[in-house]
Amino acid sequence: MSAPLSRTGRQYVAAARALLLATLVLGLVYPLAVTGLAQVLAPGQADGSLVKANGAVVGSSLIGQAYSDADEDPLPQYFQPRPSASEYDGTASGGSNLGPNSPELAALVEERRTAVAALNRVDPADVPPDAVTASASGLDPHISPAYAAIQVDRVAAIRGLPAAEVASLVAQYTSGRDLGFIGAPHVNVVQLNLALDGLGEA
């Protein structure tokens, strides 16, 4: 029996068919086509800009890492990244969401400023904003050139390297603004620390 569908019923049948078609074309063909193109055009980037040391993948140049020991104390031989609300957990991106007047955030900022100043033996006033604030992603791979600069002497001393050599490595992994005016200058901590380890072995 096939009673004629009501006009409203016909709308729903059309809707279901349209959605099915959209799911096939936009939900499967389109992303798979883009994946195919991406894997041909820029496979390294499409796979996450992975970086290797001694043949093993040790991370992504885009995803920040923690450089701390088991007690979460910073490893002084590495450039330290920004604070992260998720401790650089790749499965839980996100920030603190603390408000601009949050007493909790104010206390955290003070605490971090003291710790960063002590670790690097600098005046607390010289600790830049990005060193005491958590990023939006919790995975920020970058620090400001100012934060890198106050860490150079510490890293050089502990590794027994001339400060100038470490500073020139920092310069190598420092990028200015894109096209000179988009974004902000930044130092890639992941690549910098990887290069530092490479120096030690050479």
Partner: protein, 552 residues
């Protein structure tokens, strides 16, 4: 170069790019929706869906098509999330909780993309691609289809037909959204956005810990997420996640993508009503409001208001170093001026007044330039009200584009303007009053109120961004915000299609010396003022208790 100078150059480049593309894109969209020639592939679609592509619909039928397509969309997306554990490419994700699945389904079907869940730990690749990204396309196409029906209401005379929803939906996808997304996705991949089907890689880091690097078909979804002003991130951190926004220029490109169609639609409108100047008047209002908003957010963020912000020395909490403050502020303003809601920085940690302006952007009803389609029809309703106000002043029957605005038309327009604010204010009041709502606040005092006000403003205006400190993945907020999202999308659509139906049925009154010209700077000023006054009167008390109390 100073950060401020670099910031203004970014805006200048963005404006130049938008100016360059709005004409060809706007003209193209007008052609798409006025030609009677179907593409071969579209004819196959119409056959498969079994619609007569050459017949047009009256407004109630058009509306029923929109609703039917949306209801089916919600059901399918809900089911897909609930059964993902049995499907391939799901990365061992479990079934999404019913409350969260309902909220997410409604949210994506309505072009909102409010996200109570965290992408990388909740949604498998299949749900992302075949569920969420599909709605990114079709919810945007639905918005465009409704806007085009409304424009036809102004453009046509003595007809009860507003076009065919299924045809406009199909063409919006095949001729606009899909081609643009293909191009956008490739650019994003070249910029470093990931695009793979890997379930992720576990690596051993330099410090000897393990870190999980997620994978996913991100670029394909990222492109339509911006172009369709959807905003739902593949990952929890959205465009702040380095796999979604690897570099500053990619982030600026995303801002361009999310403003692309909304700023081109006024040109389409002008073409379709046969008077380009009318389109440029609308565009002028949108551009004025957008410029003011971007300026204010940038300025407030640079001033670093707030005690914690002052201690840190700059408003860098919740911002990425590679973007810096100016690009973060630009993105924050653009995403709330449209209905996108993607973020490259966390609005909850913005300075009190900077956060207040992004909130105000959404309260404007997202009309400057607004979501794809919804921004244009929202602004046209405001134009109707502006003409009415002008008519009251000189004692003439108001007309817009030769259409008389009588009692019925004004009733519909007024209800349209009241619907969303009512949802926002009632929703906020209820959430603040009940323990289930209060329990979700992260921050205290005025900032806590701002979190809830932001949530309902974002939901009812179909934005989707958040003061994300609010724990919104609770039964109370999943249901309440889901309802705000649904009514916030469909009540205005019902009202605006009814309005369009009445307008199309009218003839066109002749232009006389007494006609109020709606293409002159005077009208641009009036419409801008009406937009601000309507919003100011509605929301000032709430704003005074939230961001203003905190920031002044």
């Amino acid at each position: 170069m100073s950060a401020a100078a670099a910031g203004w150059l970014q805006v200048a480049l963005l404006v130049a790019a938008l100016v360059a593309v709005h004409r060809p894109l706007g003209d193209w969209m007008a052609r798409v929706f006025t030609t009677d020639r179907h593409w071969r592939v579209e004819q196959l679609v119409y056959r498969a869906v079994s619609v007569d592509a050459d017949s047009e619909q009256r407004w109630p039928v058009h509306l029923r098509s929109v609703l039917a397509f949306s209801v089916i969309g919600v059901l399918f997306l809900y089911l897909l999330q609930r059964v993902q554990l049995w499907l391939p490419l799901s990365n061992d994700m479990t079934a999404v909780e019913p409350g969260s699945a309902w909220n997410t389904a409604v949210s994506f079907v309505t072009n909102t993309n409010w996200q109570g869940y965290s992408g990388e730990s909740t949604m498998g690749h299949l749900v992302q691609m075949a569920g969420l990204a599909v709605q990114n396309f079709v919810s945007a196409a639905t918005g465009i289809a409704v806007a085009i029906a409304v424009v036809r209401g102004f453009a046509r005379t003595r007809t009860d037909r507003l076009g065919n929803f299924w045809v406009d939906l199909t063409r919006a996808v095949t001729r606009i959204l899909l081609p643009l997304s293909m191009i956008g996705a490739v650019v994003l991949v070249l910029g470093g956005v990931v695009q793979n089907l890997s379930s992720g890689t576990e690596v051993s880091t330099l410090a000897g810990a393990t870190q999980f690097l997620p994978g996913g078909p991100v670029a394909s979804q990222e492109a339509i997420k911006e172009i369709g002003t959807n905003g739902g991130g593949f990952y929890n951190a959205n465009s702040a996640h380095p796999f979604e926004g690897p570099t500053a220029w990619v982030s600026l490109f995303q801002v361009f993508l999310l403003l692309l169609i909304p700023f081109a639609l006024p040109r389409t409108f002008g073409r379709m009503v046969g008077d380009q100047r009318q389109g440029y008047a609308i565009l002028g209002v949108m551009a004025t409001l957008a410029t003011a908003s971007i300026t204010l957010v940038s300025w407030f963020e640079a001033r670093a208001g707030g005690t914690a912000t002052q201690l840190a020395g700059a408003a860098m909490e919740g911002k990425e170093v590679r973007y810096g403050e100016p690009l973060s502020a630009l993105f924050g303003a653009a995403t709330t001026l449209t209905s996108t809601g993607a973020v490259n920085s966390l609005h909850d940690s913005y300075t009190p007044l900077g956060g207040g302006v992004v909130l105000l952007n959404m309260m404007l009803g997202e009309v400057a330039p607004g979501g794809v389609g919804s921004g244009l029809y929202g602004m046209l309703v405001l134009a109707v009200v502006a003409v009415f106000v002008a008519g009251l002043m000189v004692g003439r029957t108001p007309e817009y584009l030769g259409k008389r605005l009588g009692r019925r038309e004004m009733t519909l327009a007024s209800l349209y303007l009241l619907a969303t604010p009512a949802l926002v204010l009632i929703g906020t009041a209820v959430a603040i009053a009940v323990p289930a709502g209060q329990a979700s606040l992260l921050n205290e005092g005025p900032h806590g109120l701002s979190e809830v006000l932001y949530a309902f403003t974002s939901a009812a205006n179909n934005n989707g961004s958040a003061f994300a400190g609010l724990s919104a993945n609770t039964p109370f907020f999943n249901v309440a915000l889901g309802l705000a999202v649904a009514f916030g999308r469909f009540l205005p659509i019902v009202l605006v299609l009814a309005l369009a139906g009445r307008l199309a049925a009218q003839g066109r009154t002749a232009v006389t010396a007494g006609t109020f010209p709606t293409h002159r700077p005077l009208f641009v000023g009036l419409l801008t003022a009406v937009t601000l006054v309507v919003v100011g009167l509605t929301f000032f008390p709430a704003l005074a208790l939230g961001p203003l109390a905190e920031g002044l």
